[in-house]
Symmetry: C2
Subunit: 366 residues, 2 copies
């Protein structure tokens, strides 16, 4: 089992990856769970159908009673209605301020469960038990949220989990598209931190799925990048913005198509390619690199051509609602070079010009 | 102008009371407001109809542009629907993470606005501009929340305001019932902190409305009690529970009748009388004092007889959902003596017996 500790000003907690990670319920997390008067599992339907038995078995083995609440799988669960039905579930089952939640599912399930935990009776603890590769990103760092019709993650809190438990054999049942979505965030962690690591990920023109032996170490490496940044800047006043590389356009693409239709990681991959193109002008990325990245992404199955018929204007509307927007300017994370990100205010007109260039570039390259 | 500073681990902020308090927008709060890219006023309809002009004028004088969103007055505004319509308003008006909110209204408006501020894009600052006496309590201390059908303040956050600005001449238009509701929390602050102060408040068998000159000092005294407790225990792990004196049964009474039908302060007054009666057995309060308190409350216009036909069972259901409940026991704040509160777990059977005694006592006394 591999692990690291995330340290913020207010708290610190462990991230654990390995085959027998749920055994920790009977050891490291036993006191936390025993001291809670009730334990609630919020499980997404997809993860629950394949794997909930593993979690339940581990809790039973540790003699910890629990209640289960099943949520729709994927981004669809992060609605106002689900947020309040989760709260009603907890109230009707007499959960108190001494209770604890477990999020069992993908990133969306973790985001929703975390926001419910942040706000139930003004805050109770929760554990992240992510079941997807994508959630290696979202489960760490304490960002919780739900979506609004106007945009993604618009309503939420910073609420750090009490621990993150990754059991990588759950990933074996993930559809390829979900694996692809998750790898996008891993690639992002490489891009903003380390040129060599990035090149090694892009080396294989077939998509690098990794073996079951290699994946935990790669994910832990991604999590370490994030943990180091979160330790410095929990509330995203500064460097934490770098973790949003690719997300300004990415969130807009995701919202434009309707959450879930182009997946989060797929949208971020498109957004990262756009950020590379912008970095040609504002930073130090070469045209050749951007083109290589676009071809790599396309070959790995990311739907780069999805935006060919999308006008800039509706995307701009979504980007204007981006949380990084400051006084009407759009703020992008760009790159001096691989591993050296910076933030840049870019005018809407310049964004539009870059977008047209981006569409042409995709047409040429893929 | 009178003022004090509330200090918590994470932040500190000023509480100001006086005729010209909104002049601070042009001085002490000028930088904060100028640095925000947008300023939003969430005003309750009742306060807005009488007094919004005063707030608007002060902001205009300080050259600060703003948007106004009017909410229903009273506890009715603290719904899931209003919570999300506030967020939609902010998104549609392009508020960002650099924006700020002003809560202008009673305690309910402050609770809702604070919770919206706590969660909009994971948190933006807000100022409390309370317009009722009751809000002298709720505007300070950072508790924000909305109600669920299952109970009051069940979903919320701790989110401290950036400042609290009380203009007491707004109170002149408050209906008597609203004044009465507010005075209940002032009396509570006296009861949990100071026997002599409590006696002075109960001395006048006519309800003590105070003159416009005396009121600010009395309110500040109440706020100081609260500020001292919040400074020690921001997240209510310990002594902050004392501020809930009278609120365990109080919240249940309020929820039973439907929020707003018996006002918050009226319900708390009934809850405090019940806590006095319980303190006869578990603490050091005399039967004579409880009876005097019941007669005082009745004479001052609090609807003590409202509960004569209310069964214990439905109230118990609401109390079970109280946030102070721990592992199924009910937890009450009781008194060794005036000024000396403590918390006590009481069995449901004992609570029921005390409730029957309480109903008989009210029948005898009023």
């Amino acid at each position: 089992m591999e692990q690291l500790t995330v340290k913020t000003k207010s708290t610190s907690y462990g991230v654990h990856i390995g085959e027998k990670v749920y055994d920790l319920f009977a050891t490291e997390y036993k006191d936390l769970l025993d001291n809670a008067d009730k334990v609630g599992i919020f499980a997404d339907a997809a993860a629950a159908s394949y794997h909930l038995g593993k979690l339940e078995q581990a809790l039973k083995k540790a003699a910890i009673p629990f209640e289960v609440h099943v949520l729709p799988a994927g981004e669809d669960c992060k609605t106002a209605d689900n947020f309040f039905s989760c709260h009603s579930f907890l109230l009707q089952k007499n959960f108190t301020r001494q209770s604890i939640l477990l999020a069992f599912g993908g990133g969306a399930c973790g985001d929703l469960t975390g926001f419910v935990a942040a706000t139930y009776m003004r805050g109770i603890p929760f554990l992240q038990c992510p079941t997807t590769i994508l959630a290696h990103d979202s489960a760490v760092g304490g960002k919780t949220a739900i979506n609004m019709p106007e945009g993604k993650n618009m309503v939420g809190s910073f609420h750090q989990p009490a621990g993150v438990l990754f059991q990588p054999d759950l990933f074996t049942t993930l559809p390829k598209r979900e694996v692809r979505s998750g790898m996008a965030e891993l690639i992002k962690h490489a891009i903003i931190s380390d040129a060599d690591w990035t090149e090694s990920l892009l080396l294989n023109s077939d998509f690098p799925y990794f073996s079951a032996e290699e994946l935990p170490a790669e994910l832990l490496r991604g999590i370490r990048v994030k943990a180091d940044i979160v330790a410095q800047d929990e509330f995203e006043h500064g460097n934490r913005k770098f973790l949003n590389f690719g997300h300004t356009l990415g969130h807009a693409v995701e919202a434009y198509f309707g959450f879930g239709k182009v997946s989060h990681g797929e949208s971020v991959m498109i957004g990262m390619a756009y950020a590379f193109l912008m970095s040609e002008a504002y930073g130090g990325i070469t045209k050749e690199f951007t083109n290589r990245f676009i071809r790599f992404a396309n070959h790995a199955g990311y739907p780069m051509r999805a935006i060919l018929d999308v006008e800039f204007k509706p995307l701009l509307e979504f980007m204007r609602k981006d949380k990084k927007v400051s006084s009407g300017d759009l703020v992008f994370v760009l790159l001096h070079s691989l591993g050296n990100p910076f933030t840049e205010k870019v005018s809407e007109i310049q964004c539009e010009q870059s977008y047209h260039d981006f569409v042409s570039r995709i047409k040429e390259e893929v």
